[in-house]
Amino acid sequence: MTTLTVNGSTHQINNLDPATPLLWVLRDHLGLVGAKFGCGIGQCGACTVHLNDAPMRSCLLPLSAAADQKITTIEGLASPDGKLHPLQQAWIEHDVPQCGYCQAGQLMSAAALLKQKKKPTDADIEDAMSGNICRCGTYLRIRAAIHSAAGNSSKIAAVVGCWTPSGVNESCDSTTLASEA
């Protein structure tokens, strides 16, 4: 029997191969499907959770290594009263997701980054986020949303052109784009 503590709740896991990756225990046994399967080999970050507040690819972490540790998944990122994490808020403000499939992993990586660095630079963001693939290509907005959650919104390296009713070639950063929404 293994004890797992996920988002503050304790679960007893019986009769499961201790080599089973945490991802499949979460998804198939605990019904927590927020962490996603993307590759199973640590390449895409879709499965990212926090193990004792550090980002962890749950597709590679065996159940035995997760036992008795503090695990946080995307379902536990908002506060218990349901209030969204500042990053979740910023994700909505910047209209970050497209299909959304990678976004749980992106948010968990970003949340771990902000725990470490209150004011990340572009380079910090690239370092922390380049292990998370987004096939839909939401990188510009992820970067902008992390900056704005960190209160950095004035400094956005990625510039996105703006749609304006008069329509011609006005450039602005993606904060402006999102705040128009």
Binding site: L16, D17, T20, W24, R27, D28, V33, G34, A35, K36, F37, G38, C39, G40, I41, Q43, C44, A46, T73, L77, L84, Q88, W91, I92, D95, P97, Q98, C99, G100, Y101, C102, Q103, A104, I125, E126, D127, S130, I133, C134, R135, C136, G137, T138, Y139, L140, R143, A158, V159, V160, G161, W163, T164, P165, S166, G167, N169, S171, L177, E180, A181
Partner: protein, 739 residues
């Protein structure tokens, strides 16, 4: 709405407070006529009875409006943008609108969310839905107050009487409105564009809160009571089979319940499941472990020696045999003979795979009477058809619930993976979820066709192109369903190969046969992206040959304003406009640092106009993409923010393709397997991106696909401008180190 398709009809009724007293607006939507002709709200069948009702708009007594989303959401925002149109014409309050995902059902019209079609086909239909419902609400108010219809004004979710100021909410009027006769669409007075409240506005996607909370439902997330998990070891050889197998060890893996053999299609793959061994287990991991313990001897079939690099290399050199003329204009032989200058080049593009972040996944339950399915499908009606054939049951016995799609790009309109789930549900008697691994996805795909494109141009003394001789060799999607699919279909060649925008008097377009050695499928922008790469590279070569600025040369080649008339209705004035726009945003011909350069390209596809200018740096360390500017003219926009995000995504998607995208076969088997050898662009490789959306009051055109087309050539052209080599063979990673 958190639970896309988990709600039963009854729960839904309870939730909306709809009961029997709601307004259900009926409509029949026909695929072919929806885009241009008015859509009848009811259709009378031959027997004189009303045809089956369609339901897009419900209004509950609790004042909530529910709008059916009948197209699949895969990141393009369609679950929001089409309802946005309905809500606008309905004058509904968006905060009082719920979106319900429709199951697969012909009554909604075409649901195959593919080909950048949704706005093109359904914009007008959705306006009619909203407009008709509003009229019925006003009629109900007029009847209740015994006043003329004209004095009943609908606004902000209420109908108000102009004379007295008394008003009723939509919820209060719903019951009466449902009893009104269905209006004739022709009589509907739709809004003027200056009255739009939601159309053309960047409304936030309805799913965002659930997405960031991790509480949505994708195909891979379905959990049913007593469900078992399946992972399938499929035959890696095209049209191969199983010679023998031993599953003793697999069945001994803890958690594995049984192993089931699936006999797939032998000759023509279509969308039937592939031959393989399904390991059924109590969880996904056990099923995957069980697979590793299988011992299988494959029957390699006729394609066991397929070597894709050798195939493509041979087609570059092969003599012209069995050429089919696709278009002949003027006298190309004469033009080439009398030309002041000629130039020729051959371009190749490889097989690619969709690499959706969510792999294909489907869940099925089979009771003998009925089969219910939950799947991330772009095409629920296609899934019904395919499962009906596979299980030998009637379409009416099959329900397909559409989940969110974790990316699709064309992969998820092929229902093979849904057939697997249905087949296994029947075989096991239990609900089964089939989850594809990443390796399955990369190695068992419906591959984007490779291409070999031959070009020869004749130029006169004035440096004008007077002749273009082109030949395409590329496997056709028709090979999925036809035994001899060696020639391309007209629409495939028509995707930018047979339909060049240049004004050239002497033209010959030919197609020579290509072998089929794997399943060929459509992938975001399909053949367009191959053709746009070759043509835009070639025009840049011609400009350089003539020592001309590439932009000026392209504009001159496109020539005077006209519709091209080559069967694709490209308005070249709009094409030149997007080119000039990216030139303006990028500062073309911009000054650059050492080893840097800009490249430019344009393409017309899915009725939309796109141009891209890219800036790169090429030096001893390798290639770095610095900046990409894209301009899009897609006519009117329903939701400019989602159009913008599609363009951002198109740039990233196309950069993955041009830099890394390559599936190769060796000894009949795909060599790539996962994201460590089938690379996708990451954040640290992403350039600065500048998007310009051209405002327009013209008809809606495609958005999901057109953005990717000009990107590859813009990069290849920029490499030359930066002092690097002319690369005619994709992907670029085979030639340069990618930084």
């Amino acid at each position: 709405m958190a639970q896309l398709s988990k709600l039963s009809r009854r729960q839904f009724m309870q939730m909306t407070g709809l009961g029997t007293a709601g307004l259900a607006l009926s409509a029949c939507v026909k695929h072919d006529e929806s885009a241009t002709k008015p859509v009848p709200l009811t259709q009378t069948s031959a027997t004189g009875k009303p045809a089956e009702l369609n339901v897009f708009v419900h209004i509950g007594s609790n004042n909530r409006v529910t709008i059916m989303a009948h197209r699949s959401e895969m990141g393009q925002g369609i679950r929001t943008s089409l309802p946005q149109v309905v809500a606008d014409e309905l004058d509904a309050d968006w905060d009082k609108v719920d979106i319900l995902q429709a199951q697969g059902d012909k009554k909604y019209g075409d649901q195959n969310t593919d080909g950048s079609q949704s706005a093109r086909q359904f914009y007008k239909v959705m306006r009619n839905m909203g407009g008709a419902a509003k009229l019925m609400l006003r009629q109900a108010a007029a009847a209740q107050w015994q006043v003329p219809l004209e004095s009943c004004i609908a606004k902000d979710h209420r109908v108000t009487h102009a004379g007295t100021g008394k008003s009723l909410s939509y919820g209060e009027l719903a019951e009466g409105a449902a009893k009104q006769p269905l209006p004739d669409v022709k009589t509907l007075q739709l809004k003027n564009p200056d009255e739009f409240k939601y159309i053309g506005k960047p409304v936030t996607m309805v799913d965002f809160t659930d997405i960031v909370r991790g509480s949505t439902h994708y195909g891979i997330d379905t959990i049913l009571p007593d469900m078992v998990h399946a992972s399938i070891e499929r035959c890696p050889y095209y049209c191969g089979g199983i010679e023998s197998f031993d599953d003793t060890k697999a069945r001994a893996v803890p958690g594995v319940l049984q192993v089931i053999k699936i006999d797939g299609a032998k000759e023509i793959p279509g969308f039937t499941p592939l031959t393989g061994l399904a390991v059924i287990a109590t969880n996904t991991w056990a099923a995957l472990e069980g697979r590793k313990a299988l011992v299988v001897k494959w029957d390699k079939g006729a394609h066991g020696a397929h070597d894709s690099r050798a195939t493509i290399a041979a087609l570059v050199k092969a003599p012209i045999v069995d050429a089919k003329d696709i278009r002949v204009r003027g006298d190309i032989e004469q033009a080439l003979k009398t030309a002041a200058k000629t130039h020729e080049a051959v371009y190749t593009t490889p097989y690619m795979e969709h690499a959706t972040m969510e792999p294909p996944a489907a869940t099925a339950r089979f009771t003998g009477e009925a089969c219910e399915i939950w799947a991330c499908t772009q095409n629920p009606q296609g899934a019904i058809e395919s499962v009906s054939q596979l299980l030998g049951i009637k379409p009416e016995q099959i329900t397909v619930n559409v989940t969110l799609l974790g990316g699709a790009f064309g992969r998820k309109s092929k229902p093979d993976f849904i057939g697997e789930a249905a087949y296994l549900a029947k075989a096991t008697g239990k609900p089964v979820r089939v989850t594809w691994s990443r390796e399955d996805t990369i190695r068992m795909g419906y591959y984007h066709a490779f291409s070999v494109q031959h070009f020869k141009a004749a130029l006169n003394k004035q440096q004008q192109i007077i002749g273009l001789d082109s030949r395409i060799v590329s496997p056709s999607i028709r090979s999925l369903n036809e035994p001899d699919g060696r020639y391309m279909q007209n629409w495939e060649i028509g995707q930018g190969f047979n339909t060049v925008p240049y004004d050239i008097p002497n033209v010959r377009v030919r197609n020579t046969p290509a072998p089929t050695d794997t399943r060929i499928g459509w992938l975001r922008s399909v053949y367009h992206q191959n053709h746009a790469f070759a043509l835009n590279s070639f025009i840049d070569e011609l400009a350089r040959l003539n020592k001309k600025d590439s932009l000026e040369f392209q504009l001159a080649a496109i020539g005077a304003d006209r519709p091209t008339g080559d069967g694709n209705n490209c308005d070249v004035a709009r094409l030149k406009n997007v080119l000039r726009t990216v030139a303006q945003t990028s500062g073309w011909p911009a000054k650059v640092g050492a080893s840097e350069g800009w490249g430019i390209a344009t393409h017309f596809s899915f009725d939309s106009y796109v141009a891209v200018a890219s800036k790169v740096r090429v030096d001893k360390t390798g290639l770095r993409i610095l900046e990409v500017h894209l301009a899009l003219d897609c006519g009117q926009m329903i939701n400019p923010d989602r159009v913008h995000s599609q363009m951002e995504g198109s740039v990233i998607f196309a950069l993955s393709s041009v830099l890394f995208g390559e599936i190769t076969f060796k000894d009949g088997v795909v060599e790539q397997s996962s994201f460590d050898n089938y690379l996708l662009l990451r954040m640290n490789q992403s350039p600065k991106i500048v998007i310009t959306l051209i405002p327009s009051d013209k008809k809606h055109t495609g958005v999901g696909e057109p953005g990717v087309c000009p990107v590859p050539a813009s990069v290849a052209n920029a490499i030359v401008a930066a002092g690097g080599p002319r690369i005619r063979e994709l992907p670029l990673k085979n030639h340069l180190n990618i930084l």
